[in-house]
Amino acid sequence: MRKCSLSEINSVFAEISKSMTLYLPVDGSDGSSAFSQWTEGVKWSESLNTTKSPKDFFFPQTEDLMAFKTSGKNIELTDIRKESEDFVVFGVRACDVRSFDILDRVFLSEPCDSYYATRREHSVIISVACSHPSETCFCTSFGISPENPDGDISAWKTDTEVYFSPNTEKGALLMDKLSSVTEECSDEAVVKQKEEISKICSRLPNSKVDTNTFGGGKTAELFDSPLWDKLSEACLGCGTCTFVCPTCQCYDIKDFNTGNGVIRYRCWDSCMYSEFTKMAHGNNRLTQKERFRQRFMHKLVYFPENNDGIFGCVGCGRCLAKCPISMNIVKVMKKFGGEKSEK
């Protein structure tokens, strides 16, 4: 374990930036935070979560895939991919780190998505434990420990210090580079913080959210439940939940005619949208209830069914904070009885 005083954290950022681009959560003019590039003078946000999740680093909202031009019967393809350089994402919370594992299962399974894979390979993730989880948090329901975040390097921030501990080879390599700006230390303060976080977690209002009513094999039981009518009744069909979600991974691939060629790009899509997966035969989910159900069934039933029981939600709480009508996965899970009884 190594540490650096909180007042000197910028020297760590500066050291990282010497060899790699560094991104970290930064407060915006509107008071919310977003990941952005560190340069001299940029301050690390105190906020718990960024509005948009860090999935953008690997699966950006829009991305040009290729360009082509046609003349007569000929078609000329251009690979417009940019070379990826190594980059560091600092300050990722435990829930978001787990979301990368979930995205990996989608994009790295065969056929592997090379656009995604390249960026994953070039990244170093420095996670930070959550000393002050919010009432919207429920990551513990998915077996995530906010006090013990994964990532290439785990970090803990106290009132005066930041502690670092590498978990992977990549992380250890980066830690070596930071030896001049960090010092060896005992893990006493970190152990104390971990205990405090665990205590707070048990008091979180959503700590009793339980996944036991969901999981692979529950399709027949849940699909036709009358509860979906009531739950989806007020849904506006906007894409807020899917776009702030760290694990939503649906996309659409479209062509943009530039006037002198075509750019094929992909962009996030939302199962909440009426034109989602619309094809020549029309649309396969005609009502908002069906679309609403799809989002939750996917995360809580279909995904674990196909992925060794791993749920497609990490409990970051972004949809709880951002849904215009405050309908969210916690309300859905509780409605289906997913709540641990008081002991």
């Binding site: 943009f256 530039t258 006037g259 750019i263």
Partner: protein
Amino acid sequence: MQMKEHKPLIVAFCCNWCSYAGADLAGNNRLNYPAEVKVIRVPCSCRVNPMFVLRAFQRGADGVIICGCHPGDCHYVSGNYYTRRRMAMLFSMLDYLGIEKERTRIEWVSAAEGAKFAATMNDFVETVAKLGENKRLEDLRCK
């Protein structure tokens, strides 16, 4: 270093009944106006959806001008009155978003006003040329 002179691209939406005929007359009378003005004929100036204006900018226009019959002379009686309100709103909004207000214009040109058409276009091209390239409403993919 001498910059290469920027020749602005202008999209002129012209109503079929007055301004397009005015452009014709300018041509017949051999009045000069820059070739960078691309005329798009529309049935009435009120056919011009605000989206047309924005998409003209997206596709590389540096200025957009809408020409219609003089108020009161609309072939469809009232079309250009609607145009007048809509474009007043749209141009004001574009200005509010910080888009140079000189890049958009509306002008009433009758079928008899070939000279006015040419003069208007010359003046508009000159004004837009001074502003340089449209940067604030550009779509780099279309460059």
